[in-house]
Amino acid sequence: MTGTTIRSELHLPRYLREDDAHRTPVAFEGYRSTGLRAPLRAPVDLPHRLTEVTGPLLGEGRVTAADADLTRQHDGEPQGQRIIVHGRVLDSGGKPVPHTLVEVWQANAGGRYRHVVDNWPSPLDPNFTGLGRTLTDGEGRYEFTTIRPGAYPWGNHDNAWRPAHIHFSLFGTAFTQRLVTQMYFPDDPLFFQDPIFNAIPEAARPLAISRFDYERTVPNWALAFEWDIVLRGKDQTPFETEDDGDIA
């Protein structure tokens, strides 16, 4: 991994940057809408200064305990397979990220989003919105109760289907750590034709797939999946030159 910093009299942390072989590129040829939207020029390196090593510490007052259960936001229960999705939010040094906001959104069991733009012929579920929020606990753990989302078709290519996924948004504690991503389910037969999944370099794809977690299933109630999320961590090695540090 590499990171960039400056010789600073402020002694700021430096956040490591994942190498290209393990990082999703901003554009991907097979994903059509990147064509006019992903910037074409190489980004300019921005060494981490005060604005980059700080960030919003949101949460208290923004979530209630009920926000973590997507099956209890309406009068009745949603259709579909009830599941628990849980895991830890860590940094790349293995340190838990406590009390950080985790936001999720997803399609219903039939693969339909409650959104005006989504109008494919699969019914909305009056008992499912598809929005959840929680804060990690003191050890960086999070847990949602929801239903397993369905796959859905989209117009990217002929007979294109998105594999089932849950969208995640995380802040960590610094602007550099911000992450928006998608969690997939194990052994999805639709992976092979999905450009959003395949845009992830092959070596990093397993990190986007949750693990079926029999230990955490609840008898007569819910299946369970475990997914740890790793945000960029601080470089722990003292640096000695004013140049960009390339570290192993």
């Binding site: 402020l10 942390p13 992903a38 604005t51 960030g55 992450l179 928006v180 959003i196 790793v230």
Partner: protein, 188 residues
């Protein structure tokens, strides 16, 4: 200690409005706060068409140049009523609008001061990882001329893509994801 690989990013997709558009998202401060300004602009794609499904997030210092954050070695500085963070959704004709206070100058870590600036993340369908830019202010010419980040850019044309112009109620800066006027984006 062994490093863990970071979780790969993915596009925010077209349906972010289910989960990520907070009612108070655009309000870094309340609109009736003294000295509140609106940062506005339109997000354009490579055809010059507006991008009506992007999320624009901002993070910035308070008017005194402080951050309410434990990793600021100068000490965490609370500024009452000020969140530092803004989140806007461009559903209204590709426009973002953030109600905030103009940031103060912040040390650059090299003995100088950065010009007032706002860090910006843009997320959208068709972008697989967030893209990062900064907003600077046209009426801070002297500070801008001293700013290490602006000075690191190749030319004035590049710098201009980051400099917001004063308006009736604040400042305006359009974001061009591609094209002749492609905004300067940063690798953080």
């Amino acid at each position: 200690m062994a490093q863990l690989r970071t979780t790969p990013s993915a596009t925010i997709g077209p349906f972010l409005a289910i989960g990520l558009t907070w009612d108070d998202g655009p309000y870094v401060v309340a609109p009736d706060a003294p000295d509140a300004i609106w940062l506005r602009g339109t997000v354009f794609d490579g055809n010059g068409d507006v991008v009506p499904d992007a999320m624009v997030e901002t993070w910035q210092a308070d008017p005194d140049g402080g951050f309410d954050h434990p990793d600021d070695p100068r000490g965490a500085a609370a500024f009452p009523g000020f969140r530092g963070f803004g989140r806007a959704y461009t559903v209204d004709g590709g426009q973002y609008a953030i109600c905030t206070l103009k940031p103060g100058r912040v040390p650059d870590g090299e003995g100088g001061l950065q010009a007032p600036h706002v860090d910006v993340s843009v997320f959208a369908r068709g972008i697989l990882d967030r893209v990062v830019t900064r907003i600077y202010f046209a009426d801070e010419a002297e500070a801008n001329a001293e700013d290490v980040v602006l000075r690191s850019l190749p030319d004035d044309a590049a710098r201009r893509t980051l400099i917001a112009r004063p308006t009736d109620d604040g400042y305006r800066l359009d974001i061009h994801l591609q094209g002749d006027r492609e905004t300067v984006f940063f690798a953080v």
